[in-house]
Amino acid sequence: MIIQIAWKNVWRNKTRSLIVILSVAVGVFAGVFAMAAMNSSVVQRIDAAVNEELSHIQVNNREFRSSSDIRDLIQGFNEVDSLMRSLPGVNSTTGRIIIRGIASTSAKSAGVEINGIDVEKEKEMFSLHKKVIPGTGSYFESETKFNSVLIGEKLAKELNIIRYILTPEAVAHLDSLKIPSVVLSKLDPVYGERFTSDKKFNRELEKLLTPNEIKKYSIQIKEAAWSYREGAKLILTFLDKDNNQTGAGFRVCGIFRTNNDMFEGMSVFVPAGELRALTGMEEGTWHRLIARLDNNDLTDELTEPARKAIPSYEVLNWKEIQPDLAMIADFMGQIYGIFMAIILAALAFGIVNTMLMAVLERTKELGMLTAIGMNRKKIFSMIMFESIFLSIVGGFAGMGIAGAVIALTAKNGINLMKYSEGMEAFGYSAHLFPTIDAQFFITTTILIVLTGILSSVYPARKALKLNPIEAIRTE
């Protein structure tokens, strides 16, 4: 009966209740959705770091990370490898040769980390092979007598391997994207001209187009004009096992694109065998052992056993290798806390205000209820249920909307192309796929109900303080 009356009381002043419910809903929606979007960027970043760059656990010679010396190898790699594989939860392992060097083309040079890899194993353990930009080649698939190297888009741009040319095909493509012909005609002077760097092409576009047009169309124009010099050659220079400088020419077999500019600019990959031949490293020697686990949640759990199993080497998990990533993941938890606290505080104030109004308006009725024998506990519960109903209806509506919007946007993502340069410089994708786990929904629901209960206390106490005689007399 009390619950029934409380529910009916909520709808006595429909407009007022709906406004509160709506504000609760909007608050909860905004909070949940913003969290989902932020969460997605972190989840995507971590996924990318694990799947493209680091994997879960890495083993190095204790000196290697600081010395980068080609001679700081994992001695007895096979034994270390089998120890690692014997740990339950370890899915697969591979070795890498890692050498610092310089990549240069006729135009430019850049410092790089040369990764000598077991192509087949890496293909199973990492998703980098899926990141090769179509049209730029493949993940070491083409038969060639030359040494081949896989490089990132960022490095390719730096070394002028990628250039910009507005070919007739590029213009036709832009036309099909419904870029206004006014804009296309403005680009007439540069048709067919070759720009060897991003900067130069940007400078030219700035001369020809208005800032607004650049904002709207430059990404599409650059994408269309992007051209890759097929079979480009670059020279990798590094030290061999005797610390003598050596080097060789490599053909770029493919260019990969990730969301991490640093990784794209620094890492190049070559088949281990080619690197061994050039450095004189023996067969079966590696600098790093990389292990992939059954799932990411095992990372913390398995790090210590791995350290115990391989005590003479440095064992690190991805959180330790990139502490910034781990920190951001933790930080997200805190941001969530702060975010929810603000939203729930706003929700609480809204409910306290509404319920206080409702109590003061109903002084006489509450007095009558006490007079005819409704005890304090029941009056308190009635007001409390009213508050809870307001918060639950609003909260669920908000979460429903948030859930629906997250489901919708998770399919196609939210494109923040405008900020891509800034975000990718830090390794974050500009294309967000909002995600949130069930745990988050459950916690939020509980918190909303708790807030409803807490914010009912003050109005309900106010109701209890009413003197039935005074209350009944109030006209």
Binding site: K8, K364, E365, L369, T370, I372, M374, N375, E475
Partner: protein, 228 residues
């Protein structure tokens, strides 16, 4: 059988420099199934006496015994419970629960007392029939006239078969026709249910129908008559 015993009851309201003796040494007994009116001019202490009888206010001195229970000895929560089980209230301005229908209003106290649904429904139907509102059982108070609302209030007060019903000026807001219908119903229910009714009034028509008329002046009982 005695339902209420009032012994040397005093109620003094005091503010900083004034003391008002609202009830001043009242001694009264009420028997089962009485139909009594408390009358007197404004400020004579009628409402105060009813509030004291209903346990809504505490006397300065004296005793009110209801079936032997001293009201002033009950703690606040026990008192609320006691009211719920023993006393029915009818207020001047109806005071029904606006979100409940007539039937639900009548059932309200029974449900506080945890009557089973079937009994509640039977009882509320019987009462609504007695007050002539069986066809309006599903109407909310806002859809009923003042007189009809007050009849529902009477049915609510009686529903859980309290020891007595207190009605503070129940006809004050009603026109004469509605007032006399209400009184007829009250008298009929008093007769049928054998429940004591005590009501305060200014209304001479109401006084005429009362079986006992207690007149108060300055907080004292000046006459206590049983007109034939």
């Amino acid at each position: 059988m005695k339902v209420i015993e009032i012994k040397d009851l005093h109620k003094i309201y005091s503010s900083s420099d004034i003391e008002v003796h609202a009830v001043n040494g009242v001694n009264l007994d009420f028997m089962e199934a009485e139909f009594a009116a408390i009358v007197g001019p404004s400020g004579s202490g009628k409402t105060t006496l009813l509030n004291l009888l209903g346990g809504l206010d505490m006397p300065t001195s004296g005793q009110i015994l209801i079936d032997g229970t001293d009201l002033s000895k009950l703690k606040s929560s026990a008192l609320i419970d006691f009211r719920m089980r023993n006393i029915g209230f009818v207020f001047q301005s109806y005071n029904l629960i606006p979100v409940l229908t007539a039937k639900e209003n009548v059932e309200f106290i029974m449900s506080l007392q945890k009557w089973i649904r079937k009994d509640r429904e039977e009882r509320s139907y019987d009462l609504l029939k007695s007050i002539g509102l069986a066809d309006r059982y599903n109407s909310r108070p806002a859809k009923l006239s003042g007189g009809q609302q007050q009849r529902v209030a009477v049915a609510r007060a009686l529903a859980s078969r309290p020891k007595f019903v207190l009605a503070d000026e129940p006809t004050a807001n009603l026109d004469s026709k509605a007032a006399s219908t209400l009184l007829e119903i009250m008298e009929k229910l008093n007769h049928e249910e054998k429940i004591t009714f005590i009501f305060s009034t200014h209304d001479p028509r109401v006084m005429k129908m009362a079986h006992r008329v207690i007149t108060l002046e300055d907080g004292k009982v000046v006459s206590d008559e049983k007109p034939e």
